[in-house]
Symmetry: C2
Amino acid sequence: MRLTVRTNLAMRALMFCAVNENRTVRKAEIAEACNSSENHLGVVINMLGQTGFIETTRGRNGGVRLKVDPQVLSVGQVFRVFESNVPFAECFAGSENHCPLTASCRLRGKLSIALEAFYIALDDVTLADLVEDNTGLHSLLQLETA
Amino acid sequence: MRLTVRTNLAMRALMFCAVNENRTVRKAEIAEACNSSENHLGVVINMLGQTGFIETTRGRNGGVRLKVDPQVLSVGQVFRVFESNVPFAECFAGSENHCPLTASCRLRGKLSIALEAFYIALDDVTLADLVEDNTGLHSLLQLETA
């Protein structure tokens, strides 16, 4: 199984914002530090804004900054939001599901339980856990203070 | 995140074999019942044979049959085998990994723990749990006895 690129990029962007928590950062800065196209990152930033994880401001001095306390924002929360519209297997895909076993298949329920175990493991991890005292990450991501 | 089609199909094929445990089944029969192309299924059957989950016999009366007791074969075991060569995220991809954060990123370790929680949940589920007393599934998959 594979994580979506979108979720992966959302986590990179959030780590970037958390390392630079006291300033507004530009999309181009995140894209460069996180090795992403600005277009792809734009979609992710929109989603992060819609969920209230970051706030975006427009204009000359505009950009992105964290809207939630990294001590409070859990990785599980981010994953649940970003993965919620991706069907894990064909049988989670609604009208796109053509598996003939669906009506009598017990695997789907077991998969739902296993997926919940995956998310629960990430619910215990905060954004702060990923960045605090992580000097290596700070070296990679910290911008000069404006 | 998405499960690979290969793992999904492996589970369908194993359920088919388990429902028809006392006979050798043909690839075409599995393909038809499980809504798969024979080519795609062929790859999965080869892998299931290599892992020792099924045995395949060639020739006119050849086919596929379960090689392990469904009470013993766990879904986690199948998933671990079939998913083992699929990188969950870019940072699991070895030489294909171009994430600039890798050296200092703590997310990867947390993802490994979460993935293990996912597999552990499936370790508790046997193939027998999926098919035993599942009359609906038997109606869908059971072949007439030869």
